[in-house]
Symmetry: C2
């Protein structure tokens, strides 16, 4: 009983979201969220917000937020774009920068939204296999392409590349725009933002959802040469001129201005990550050194899917991907020390120690 | 000195925004904003918001907001989509529904974002001239097309169509999706939302930016048959899964739940509109009866551009479009009675009364 107008509707495979469990007792280690609240300055910014000003449109360029990001990184405000979460910024960047018949290149194992944007925006692409240890070999990207996008550290593998490797990649591809997606970079301490002054084909994206505990507020930024930023603005202004509301602009600016809280929170997450990685290895898990706020682990003696289900039944939600090459791996977000203790206890029980 | 990667950058004419004057003394009648603050329930929702929950992703489907919209209109929640302002919702709808080789139809004088989305999303389109009185003749839309989008009331003309005309348009185009953009419908009292139960090819879009005084919060909705809503969700989930932040969801739900405040605010704006229209006509202006929160006026003896400039120099910002057919018209947002008195005073001075 196909309706006549169905022929004009979009044909697209909707993205399937991770589980959002409700209920107080769940330990949620499945969305790479931060276990700690945002800076107290965020609560102040929200509580003190005068709702009367909401009758007016927000600043179209989210200027107070862009300025705060510029101040944090020591760049000019004209080098900063802001958007409604990393996905909004990356989608605009794909539309702005990848208009070529040649393929966009990215790793075969990486953020699963990249192929979705390519399909939606009709961008040709080619995936480049990571090696057997899940490492990205930047030499493999020195070939004809219409653009490159690479998360550093990569997800879900947790493996980060050093700045010299990233610079090699960018300098070898001066005919393309190279996007380095630094969603998790604050947990490695390696950022290529300083390279934007040297390479005008580099775009660095950052999110406030992970290291700044603002997943619920939808705030992200891109940092690049002003000309590339103007292209991002042109796409924004042709799609939705005001993606960021006045409260999010204020809250985001407050979050990034509190450098001390941010550094302290990152240190806590990193300490818990190292402690958890050590204990997982003692239980027989194999995992790369993580540069992110999550771990990517496999166990030679136990199926990842079974461990995933076992933990889920006990109220601990982690992530399992039924995908080629990684279907025996688990992605485990770093929670608080107490949450990770509970995880380890359950795993000890399962693995019979 | 064209850089090699420039060839892959998007070529697009960036949208030029209206002026956002700063300074306390400006009377801002140029963006169709509401002169009154949002419902007190919005301030409560924001002030009482617990920032700690921002560390988690917001509900992907903005469920509390969709439910509040469904309650307001007496439809099922599955008939409601929510987005980051009307532009976000309309852009998703264009992508979801207008995938045809046949042209999308809309009036030659209408919301200026429609051609921008068509260019961005590569949608063929044809504009249908309004008549010499700026009226939309729905009969002109009974021709082969890939979809139809029509604001009711239309902008910037302020002219609304009755429900019978809208139903004629929808029922004559059952092979296409018809979007009725009701950004200003709350100021006319005519909404075709009840028709969604009868016509599964109808999509009604609504914004919270005008009648609910939430331009700064970026909240909008679409109401349609659940199948069309699922197409909008597929587009959203392929572009940016979480366009609405947790605070905006809460504030939007609070705003739409306060029906009494909403009705009272609309009544005040309408009363000021009628009073202002009468006085403009006394000054010799010609203007259609407005169904919106703004007026569209021309003066036989004075150039619109000169009046625009004159008012601007006196701190009163209205809107002037240098566009075919309407380049001797002014768009004037309805402010408070006091603001409109100031406007009339300045016009009396200019027109020598």
């Amino acid at each position: 009983m196909e309706k006549p107008f169905f022929k004009n509707l979009i044909k697209i495979e909707p993205y399937t979201a991770g589980e959002q469990p409700k209920g107080g007792d769940i330990i949620k280690l499945n969305a790479n969220e931060n276990p700690y609240p945002p800076s107290p300055a965020v609560q102040e910014a929200i509580s003190g917000f005068d709702a009367e000003q909401l009758r007016l449109y927000p600043p179209m360029d989210a200027a107070p937020l862009r300025q705060a990001v510029a101040d944090f990184y020591g760049v000019d405000r004209s080098c900063v774009f802001a958007g409604n979460g990393s996905d909004d910024v990356l989608a605009a960047a794909f539309r702005a920068f990848f208009n070529s018949d040649k393929p966009l290149l990215y790793p075969d194992i990486t953020y699963s939204f990249y192929p979705v944007w390519c399909d939606l925006l009709r961008i040709p692409y080619e995936t480049i296999p990571v090696d057997e240890g899940f490492n990205v070999r930047v030499e493999d990207y020195c070939r004809e392409n219409g653009g490159i996008v690479l998360p550093n550290p990569n997800a879900p593998t947790t493996i980060g590349l050093g700045l010299d490797r990233i610079e090699y990649l960018i300098s070898s591809n001066r005919e393309s725009v190279v996007i380095i997606d630094e969603a998790y970079a604050d947990f490695s301490g390696v950022s290529c933002v300083p390279l934007i002054k040297k390479y005008d084909n580099l775009v660095v994206t950052q999110t406030f959802s992970k290291s700044r505990s603002l997943a619920g507020m939808r705030v992200a930024a891109a940092i690049a040469d002003p000309y590339l930023i103007s292209c991002l603005d042109a796409v924004k202004d042709s799609y939705n001129s005001y993606p960021m509301d006045a409260v999010a602009i204020r809250a985001g600016a407050a979050a990034i201005a509190d450098r001390e809280y941010f550094e302290q929170t990152c240190r806590r997450v990193i300490a818990t990550r190292e402690r958890t990685a050590k204990r997982l290895r003692e239980l027989g898990f194999i995992l790369p050194d993580s540069s992110a706020n999550f771990l990517f682990a496999t166990h030679p003696g136990h199926s990842a899917e079974k461990i995933f289900t076992y933990l889920r039944e006990r109220g601990i939600y982690i992530r399992y991907f039924r995908k080629p090459r990684i279907d025996n791996y688990l992605r485990i977000t770093i929670g608080t020390d107490e949450q990770m203790d509970r995880l380890i206890e359950e795993l000890e029980r399962l693995l019979g120690r």
